[in-house]
Every structure is written in C-alpha cells, then in structure tokens.
C-alpha cells in the first residue's frame, strides 16, 4: 500500500501523516505476527510499540529496496526475538528450557481463548526451533507466500519450504500423539 511513498524526500510534516497511515494499516497484522512469537498480550503490546517507534526512527534507512511491509515485518520479528532473548537472559532460561518457558507463558496468558486442541497445537508450535516457528506461523495461519517470506526473513524460498515442510510434519505428529 504505502510502498510508493518516497520517505527520503518526503518533508517532515508529510512524513508524520504518511507514518500515521502506516500505523493504521499495519498495526493489526504486525500485532498478530508479534503475538504469535511472544505469546503474551502485554509483551506483544510492548514489542509492537517498540517496533513502530523503531520503524519511525529508522525511516531514513528504508530506501525502497524492499517492500515497506517486508521492512516492517523484519523489524517486528527482530524486536520480538530480541524481547524473548532478553526475557530468557533475565530469567536464566537455558536453550533446553526454552519450550517450557514459552508453554508457561501460554498457560499464563489471560487472553488465550482456545480449546484443548488449540492449546495442544500452540504447544506443538512452541516446540519448534525459533525460525521454524516463525515460518510455520506465517505460512500456516497467514498463508504468506514463500517469496514474501524470503523478503522478510532473508532466507531462500527453497530453504523456507524445507523449513515449513519439517515444521508442519512435526506439528502434525505431535498433535496426533497428543489428541488421538
């Protein structure tokens, strides 16, 4: 939508108005992308605000080489992962305990509104390695094209497809074990 905005040459006052439109357009999809990574609503809210501020502060860095939404999503994903890393570091969570750390977050989230099967699915997704989890969420829930994922994550289409293939099979297997 706003890909045609030439941020570099846009006067400061017009930039604000244009960025206001960006906020209105991308707030919801960015929120859900972040929420699926950090799980808890309050954390997602913090990360989203950081993402928007970082995007605004770094708007000069956007040169139109990538699409604007890819650039925004990349910031959102980086912010989400940084947020989780800081939380894990603060709580001395090791790599082995990462899955239980995220599952506990899921259990503690007041804004989880799923049944037993949906909780099982979320827990299965949380068992995936970080990158596979991001790819799975963006492919399975949002049906993001591999080509767009490539722009956001900077990984080749082939590698993304392989990643999603492994993730989907693993999630299906865990769900079967859990629910059947």
């Amino acid at each position: 939508m706003k890909e045609d905005v030439d941020w570099a040459t846009l006067p400061k006052e017009k930039r604000k108005a244009a960025f206001g439109n960006v906020v209105k357009t991308y707030t919801r999809p960015l929120y859900w992308a972040i929420r699926k990574i950090v799980i808890v609503h309050d954390d997602a809210n913090d990360v989203l605000q950081n993402t928007l501020m970082r995007a605004w502060n770094g708007i000069d860095e956007f040169r139109g080489e990538s699409q604007f939404y890819s650039w925004l999503y990349r910031i959102a994903i980086n912010e989400s992962l940084t947020f989780l890393q800081k939380q894990k570091a603060a709580q001395n969570i090791s790599i082995d305990d990462e899955e239980s750390f995220l599952s506990e977050k899921l259990e503690a989230d007041d804004f989880f509104d799923g049944d037993k099967a949906q909780k099982a699915l979320q827990k299965a997704i949380l068992s995936l390695p970080e990158k596979q989890r991001i790819v799975f969420n963006m492919r399975y829930y949002d049906e993001t094209k591999y080509e767009d994922l490539e722009k956001i994550l900077g990984t080749s289409v082939g590698a993304l497809k392989a990643s999603y293939h492994i993730a989907a099979k693993k999630v299906a297997y865990i769900l079967k074990e859990e629910l059947e």
Partner: protein
C-alpha cells in the same frame, strides 16, 4: 513420476490437513482486550505526534531563548563598552577643562592685576564698599 518438489508439496498438504482436522481450523486462539486496537492506534498516534511536536517546540523555544539571551547580552555588553568608550574621554576632558578653567581664571586675575594700576584699584574698592 513426481518431482522432489511435488512430493514435498504433497507431504505439506497432508500435514496441514491433519493439523486442520485435529485443531478445528486455523483460527488464532488469542484475543485482545476490548477496543485494544482502536485505543492503541489513537494512543500511539497521539504519543507519536504530540511529544514530537512538543519536543520540537521546546527545542525551538530553547533555541530562540538562547539566541535572545545571547543577543541581549551582546547588546548590553556593546552598550556598556560604548558608554565606557564615551565616558572615559568625556571624564578626561572634564578634568582637563576644570584644570584649564582654573588656569584661565588665574591668568585673567593676574592679567587684571597687572593691567590695572593700584590707584584705580583702590578707587574701585572704595566705591564698591561705599555702595
């Protein structure tokens, strides 16, 4: 014969179907507080616009204040310097004038005393005293 890519696609589809059937669809099981997005957009936009413009205004005001203060200081300093430059020679002149007036007075007195003879002087004094 199916290619490797096609086999992967088929396996992905199968896995997705399994997940769909077991987890009752692809609905994200997360919610947000009521009117969260509306509030967030409003709050963020006001936060994002207001402090920025306020900060700019403050910065601008600060700059103007600073410039104003600097200018005032320069004007005051210049005025003081001018006054000093002007006053010092005037003071010196006044002092000089005082001295020269004294000199003039002294010279005029002595001139009068030299030019007027004693008899005339005595007559003049007598005449003035009788009056």
């Amino acid at each position: 014969m199916k290619t490797q890519d096609e086999l992967i696609d088929k396996e992905i589809q199968e896995a997705e179907s399994t997940i769909d059937s077991l987890s009752s669809g692809r609905k994200i099981p997360f919610t947000v507080p009521e009117s969260y997005f509306e509030g967030l957009e409003r709050d963020f936009l006001s936060k994002f616009e207001a402090p920025a413009s306020e900060t700019e205004a403050k910065e601008e005001t600060r700059v103007i204040k600073y410039q104003h203060k600097t200018r005032t200081f320069i004007f005051v300093a210049a005025a003081v310097a001018c006054l000093l430059i002007a006053i010092v020679p005037i003071y010196k002149n006044i002092s000089k004038e005082k001295v020269s007036t004294n000199k003039v007075c002294t010279t005029y007195e002595s001139y009068v005393l030299n030019e007027v003879d004693e008899t005339t002087m005595e007559d003049y004094i007598e005449e003035t005293t009788n009056k």
